[in-house]
């Protein structure tokens, strides 16, 4: 495909998608009906809904006037299976196959939306469309811009939402250095957890001279409670492919690897399909868009190891070895995969690249707060009314996310804490409910943005038990290569187990603190260095709960099974 053919296609593709893009429907379809095919909706049975819809459309002779599309994650996982009807972005919740006849008869045939299937907030207010729903009001979608809007594996639909426009722009009008400068000026930081400036990372790799360089997509999302990478890989795989290709151009790489964890079969399937289509259309492979730039991507399926999210471990695993990290330097930019210069970015980071190229660094840098630019996707889950994926400008407050987007705590319970950043992160207690969600503020509270897990904890949860849970996870997932992580986390876990069984001893807290400090300083990689964080953060804010377990032999929340303990309310 040439530049011209791509632009030509875009015009017709945009027309075909006008119903969804807010314009007047110019195509032959009166309604576009979207069924969410994200993991959450799949799990709640969206396939049966999609099948019932297809049959009903056929039976009612609407095949030529209704376009049925299965999309990626729309966001409100709690409300799934979700069906959307465009124009108007009507959002039907918890749809069952038996609800289909109402949608077809009332909405598709008689232009009247089905009130009983629409969202009502806790005040009973009807919010039938996406712009009206509390869950979406404060969101700003950049990384998730296409998730839930397009057919993830339709080239035409991706082109309609400006797909491959960024790639065309850089190949036609920009030098590699200009591309890197754009990403640098946007202020985008790595969304995988560490928050390192992405443009700088690209610059390091571009500065290296080598016969072969690699671009890698880190899709080994292993944080328990985070699933945005899954959503992007499943719902918008082309955007990751396009961004990796742009990076290849900017840094001088000709080969890419997408490392995707095997627990995400749907993501692997869609990404594979998208790769095939991109190759077929000339967006990957030799002489992309008729230029002399060549680039291709291969998938590597993860085999189930949390540590493989660490970049040096991920590269070892890609090479077919045990996913064990190695000391840095040398950094991957100098010596990475197969000892060649390599650049690794997280899926969500990749998803931000094309909008930055298309709309410019200034636009992106204008969103967010301080040194935290742009948006962040949070996987909102736990004891919250509306869980799901939310993308918000950095700098939004925790309260806004939990109360306004999430609809507050389920069951009228009290907010106790928000756990952010997964096993590498920490807790934000109720007294900091109005804190700004950004890299610097969370760090100052002893937590991190991390990959974006945001688990809401209510008064029924025990913080000591939760800290033990995270430590158990990292202990389990430690690769065992370095002693502090292998043995240190094991000893800490033993202490935590004792405490939660009511066998805690005087001095345990101090011992935990001492060991935490040592492990943080001496572990080889990020997994070990951050493993003590949940303990340190809960000790900081909920020390009294530890003391109650140790001294009084009670679990204030009544979670830990302490023999002979009385259940008390806190």
């Amino acid at each position: 495909m040439t530049f011209q053919e791509l632009e030509q296609l875009r015009i017709t593709a945009k027309e075909a998608l006008a119903a969804r893009l807010g314009g007047a429907p110019a195509d032959e379809y009166k309604y576009h009906v979207l069924v969410c095919g994200g993991t959450g909706c799949h799990s709640s049975g969206c396939q049966a809904v999609a099948d019932a819809l297809e049959k009903a459309i056929e039976d009612n002779g609407l095949k030529n006037s209704i376009k049925l599309v299965q999309t990626g994650c729309i966001g409100a996982c709690q409300l799934g299976p979700v069906v959307m009807v465009y124009p108007g972005a009507y959002h039907y919740c918890n749809v069952k196959p038996e609800d289909i006849s109402d949608i077809v008869n009332d909405h598709l045939k008689n232009d009247k939306f089905v009130e009983r299937l629409c969202y009502k907030n806790d005040k009973g207010e009807l919010q039938p469309t996406v712009p009206e729903m509390d869950f979406f009001k404060k969101q700003l979608k950049i990384a998730l811009r296409n998730c839930g809007l397009i057919d993830p594996v339709s080239f035409e639909e991706y082109v309609a939402v400006d797909g491959f426009a960024a790639l065309a722009k850089v190949l036609k009008d920009m030098t590699p250095q200009q591309v890197i400068d754009e990403v640098k000026n946007a202020g985008l930081r790595g969304r995988g957890g560490a928050g390192f400036p992405t443009g700088l990372k690209w610059q390091f790799m571009a500065n290296e001279k080598a016969d072969q360089k690699y671009v890698i997509c880190n899709g080994d999302e292993g944080d328990p409670g985070a699933f945005m990478d899954n959503a992007v890989l499943t719902g918008d795989p082309f955007s990751v492919i396009e961004a990796m290709t742009i990076c290849g151009y900017a840094t001088g790489a000709s080969k890419g690897y997408a490392y995707i964890r095997l627990e995400y079969p749907l993501a692997i399937k869609n990404f594979k399909k998208a790769l095939e289509i991109a190759r077929e259309k000339g967006m990957l492979g030799n002489n992309i868009l008729g230029t002399d730039f060549s680039f291709d991507i291969e998938i590597r399926e993860g085999a189930g190891a949390f540590v493989c999210g660490e970049e040096t471990a991920l590269m070892a695993s890609t090479e077919g070895r045990r996913g064990e990290p190695r000391p840095r330097p040398p950094f991957p930019a100098a010596s990475g995969l197969y000892n060649k210069p390599s650049n690794i970015n997280n899926v969500e980071t990749w998803a931000n690249i094309c909008p930055i190229i298309n709309k410019g660094a200034d636009w992106y840098a204008g969103i967010g707060v301080g040194k935290s630019k742009g948006t962040k996707v949070f996987a909102l889950a736990g004891k919250v009314v509306n869980s799901g994926l939310v993308e918000v400008p950095l700098g939004i407050t925790l309260r806004e996310v939990v109360e306004e987007i999430g609809g507050g705590i389920a069951g009228g319970k009290k907010f106790k804490a928000a756990q952010t950043g997964g096993p590498s992160g920490g807790c934000i207690p109720a007294e900091h409910f109005d804190t700004s969600l950004d890299y610097e503020t969370l760090a100052s509270l002893g937590s991190i943005v991390g990959s974006g897990g945001l688990i809401v904890i209510d008064e029924d949860n025990c913080m000591v038990d939760l800290a033990k849970f995270y430590l158990g996870f990292t202990q389990d997932e430690s690769c065992g290569k370095c002693t502090p992580c292998r043995i240190g986390t094991k000893r800490m876990l033993e202490i935590m187990e004792r405490i939660t069984k009511g066998l805690g001893r005087e001095g345990d807290i101090e011992l935990l603190e001492e060991m935490a400090a040592m492990i943080k300083q001496s572990a080889l990689c990020g997994l070990g260095q951050t493993a003590p964080n949940p303990i340190l953060s809960t000790l900081k804010y909920y020390r009294a709960e530890y003391e109650a377990h140790i001294k009084d032999k009670v679990c204030p929340a009544g979670i830990c099974k302490i023999r002979g303990a009385k259940k008390t309310t806190s």
Partner: protein, 161 residues
């Protein structure tokens, strides 16, 4: 049970594995890809095949064993007919996954990582299936069972013979 590994009753599977290995012959970098293929075809990694893979891909046998025991996807023992994965991600954990685990252990009489004596079920815990909105979640042969409670366990298990 050892006879079930590379037995003559599954010639197509044998052929598939044979061709998989020969496709990657002499390429140590493809070790995980080959092992994943065998795991998928047989449900575990028989000893004789690990030796064969080591020879054909030019990887020391210790490394093959090292990889096999490192990753959660690989099993050295035959698996049950149905594979249960209970999610122990944070969202599932705070919403009661530990109680479901206790109930599964009670009903199946095995711990995570084991297979029931009649080989009907294998039971594992996994960390986050990416479906936190409908926690707690468990899957059986990939089929998702959302919003699990301990009293639903028996009913769900009964569906799998």
């Amino acid at each position: 049970m050892g006879a079930g590994c590379n037995c003559n009753c599954q010639p197509e599977v044998d052929k598939k594995i044979e061709s998989l290995i020969s496709q990657h012959r002499g390429n140590p970098n493809d070790l995980i890809v080959v092992m994943a293929g065998i795991q998928e075809a047989l449900g575990y990694l028989p000893k004789d095949l690990m030796i064969k893979v080591a020879e054909e891909l030019c990887v020391p046998l210790t490394d093959v064993y090292g990889v096999a025991t490192f990753y959660a996807a690989f099993s050295l023992r035959p698996r049950g007919r149905h594979s249960i994965n209970l999610c122990l991600g944070t969202a599932c954990y705070v919403k009661g996954a530990p109680e479901i685990q206790a109930e599964l252990e009670k009903q199946l009489k095995i711990k995570p990582g084991d297979t029931t004596e009649d080989r009907r079920f294998s039971f594992d815990v996994v960390r986050c299936l990416g479906a936190c909105g409908i926690a707690p979640v468990m899957t059986i042969d990939g089929e998702v069972h959302p919003r699990m409670t301990p009293d639903k366990v028996a009913e769900v298990l009964a569906k799998y013979e």
